[in-house]
Amino acid sequence: MDLFVLTLAIPLVSGLALAAAGERAWAPNLNLIASLGTFLASALLTAEIVAAGPRFAFGEMFFIDSLNVFFVALTAFVGLTTSIFSGPYMRNEREHGRLTAARLRLYKSMFQLFMFTMLAALTTNNLGILWVAMEAATLTTVLLVSLYRTAASLEAAWKYFILCGVGIAQALFGTILLYFAAERVLGETGNALLWTHLVGVKGQLEPTVMALAFVFLLVGYGTKVGLAPLHNWLPDAHAEGPTPVSAVLSGLLLNVALYAILRVKVLADGAIQSGFAGSLMMGFGLLTLTVAAFFLSRQKDIKRMFAYSSIEHMGLITFAFGMGGPVANFAGLLHMTLHSLTKSAIFFAVGHAAQKCGTQVMEDIRGLIKINPVIGWGLMLGTLAILGMPPFGVFASEFMILTHAMKHHPWATPILLTALGVAFAAIFGKVQPMVFGETHLKRLPHAPAITPVFVHLALVLMMGLYIPPYLVRWFHEAARMLG
C-alpha cells in the first residue's frame, strides 16, 4: 500500500475509531499503536523520498519533497513519543480525579485527529487546503486546552480560539490575494493555488499584490507560530492544557505554522525580487525574541515559563529564515528540529515533576533530584540543552545563526546576544533550585514514562557532536529549496 496514504490514513481512522469506541481498556494501546504505525509509515516514506526524489499523491493534491518529508518524519516521531509519555501521565491524572473517562476519550481521539491535520497541512500542495488544515488543527486542540474544565483552562481555550481565529482570518485574506495574483498568470483553472505550479511562475506574479499577501499571511500564520505581538494565547494554552498537549503544541504545531510561512516566502521572494519578505521576518523574529526573553524572568508557573521559551526560540528561527541563504536556512531547519525534540522532552519531564509535586508553581517544586533523580536529571539536562549549552545540538544551530548574523547583519548581534543572555539567566536561575533544592515528597502511584525524555535528549546530544551525513545532505537540500 502507498506509504503516504498510510501516513495520513492511520491517524484519521484511529482518531475516528477512538471517538466511536469510547474509553476502553485497550484505548491507550490503540493510541500507541496508531502513533507507532504513523511513525513507521512516515519513516519509510522518508526513505522513499530521499532515494527517489519528490513526488505527488492523489493527482496533484499532495506533494512531498525533501523539505516537508523532513517535517512529516519529525511530527510523527514526536507524536509517537508523546503517546508513550501520555499513557502513564493520563492514568495518574485520572487517579488524582482531574480527568474522567469521557474526557480521556476526547483527548485520545482529538490527539490523533490533530496529528492528521498537521500531517495534511505539511503535505498538501494546495495553499487553500493548507489554510483549511491549519484551521482544523486549531479546532481539534481547542477542546484539549480546556480539558480540565477549570476557569483558567476555559479562559485559555477561549483566548486560543479567538486570537488564532482572527489570525487565521488574516491568513485567509492573504491566501485570497495570493490566488488573485496567481489567477492572472495561471488562468482560472483549479491549479492557481497549487504550490508546484506557483513556484514555476513565481517571477511573473504581481509584486504589489504578493507583498500585501505575504504581510497578511505572515501576520496570520505568525499568530499561530507565536510571533509578537500576537503571542498572548500561547503561554495560556500551554500552561492550562494537559502536558502532552503542551508538548505537541510547542514541539509540532508551531513548526507547522512556520512551515506554512516558509512555503509562501519562497513565492513572495520570487515575485518581489527584493529582501522585503526576509526583512519583515527578521523584524518580527527579533521583536518576538526580545519580548519573550524579558517576560521569562517574570514567570511563576513552570509550563508558562517554558511556553515563553518556545516563543523565544520561534523568534530566533524566524529571524534565521529571514536572513535567508543556504547557511541561515540550514541553521533554521536544524534549530527547528532540535527545538522540537528538546522542548517536548522538557515538557515530558515538567509534566511528571508537576504531577509529583501537585503544582505547577515553581516555588513549590523543589528537590526533584531527591524524589526522583531520573526526572530531576531529565529536567536539568533538557534545560541545559534548550539554553544552548555545548555539547548539545542547540548550541551548534544557535552558533551558526549568531555567526551568520554577525557577518551579514551586524546590527542585530547585540539584540540577539542580550536576549539569549537574559533568557539563560532567567531559566537557569529558576530550574536550578527546582532540581537541587530541599524537599519532602513521596512517590507517584504509576511509574512515569521517562524514556521519551532521554531518547529526545540523546538525539539532541548526538546532533551536537555528530550529524549523520545523510541528514546533512537532507538539510542542505531543504535549505536550498528555500532559496
Binding site: 487553500g128 489554510w131 479546532l139 480560539f161 485570497i176 504589489t208
Partner: protein, 222 residues
C-alpha cells in the same frame, strides 16, 4: 471607463452596499437575537450577490458557492445560534466597552482605510465585481471591531462569523471565488468551529454562571 454600467454590475454594487450597511447595523445592535437575524440577512445578501455574479459571468461553480452560503450562513449557523441563545437563556446584551456613537465613528475610519488598501488591488482586477473589494475588506474590519468592543461571548462569535462573510465577499469580488474544494473545506471548518464553540459555551456557562467574557480575564502577566 465606459459611462454605461451594466445592470448586473449595478446590482452587485447594490448588494455589496447592503452588506456594508448590515455590518454597521450589527455594530450598533445591542440585543442578541436581532444581531443573529442581521447576521442571517447578511448571509442572504451575500448569497444573492454571488448569484448575480454567477449569472452574469457564467461561472458555474459560483452557483455551488451561492447554495453553500445560503445553507450555511443564512440558515444553519443562525439556527444553531438561535438554539444556543434559547438553551442558554442569554439575556439581552446591553453593554459594550465603547459606546455606540464612538464605535460607529471608528467604523467609518476603518472603512476609509479599507478602501485605500483595496484600491491598488481592485485596479488590477478584471472581474465585474472588482469595485466591491473595498467593501469586502471594510466589512472584515468592521466585524473585527465588533469582536473587540463586545464583552459577551455570542456577539463575539457573530463577529467572527461575519468576518468570514467579508472574506467570502473578497474572494468573489477579486477572483470569482476560490476553487470549490477549498471553499468546501472552509465551510466545513466554519461549521465545525461553530459547533465546538457551542459546546464550549456550555462549559463556560457551567463554570461561571454567565457568558460574560470579562470573567475570562484572569490570565495576565503580572
Amino acid at each position: 471607463m465606459s459611462t454605461v454600467v451594466p445592470l448586473s454590475a449595478q446590482l452587485i454594487n447594490l448588494f455589496a452596499a447592503v452588506i456594508l450597511l448590515l455590518a454597521f447595523a450589527m455594530l450598533a445592535q445591542r440585543r442578541v437575537l436581532p444581531l443573529i437575524n442581521l447576521f442571517a440577512l447578511q448571509g442572504l445578501t451575500l448569497c444573492l450577490s454571488t448569484l448575480v455574479v454567477a449569472f452574469s459571468t457564467g461561472q458555474a461553480h459560483l452557483y455551488g458557492s451561492a447554495a453553500l452560503t445560503l445553507v450555511l450562513k443564512a440558515l444553519l449557523l443562525p439556527w444553531i445560534l438561535h438554539r444556543l441563545v434559547r438553551k442558554l437563556q442569554v439575556k439581552s446584551d446591553v453593554e459594550g466597552l465603547v459606546n455606540i456613537p464612538t464605535t460607529m465613528l471608528i467604523g467609518i475610519v476603518l472603512v476609509m482605510v479599507a478602501f485605500n488598501v483595496a484600491l491598488p488591488i481592485s485596479q488590477l482586477a478584471s472581474t465585474i465585481s472588482r469595485g466591491t473589494l473595498g467593501i469586502a475588506l471594510a466589512s472584515v474590519m468592521l466585524a473585527f471591531l465588533m469582536m473587540i468592543v463586545r464583552t459577551k461571548a455570542i456577539p463575539q462569535v457573530v463577529g467572527f462569523l461575519a468576518m468570514e462573510n467579508g472574506l467570502f465577499l473578497a474572494a468573489t469580488s477579486a477572483t470569482y471565488g476560490m476553487p470549490m474544494v477549498v471553499e468546501l473545506g472552509i465551510a466545513l471548518d466554519v461549521l465545525v468551529g461553530a459547533i465546538i464553540l457551542g459546546v464550549f459555551f456550555f462549559q463556560i456557562r457551567e463554570q461561571f454562571d454567565s457568558l460574560d467574557i470579562r470573567h475570562l480575564e484572569k490570565l495576565k502577566e503580572r
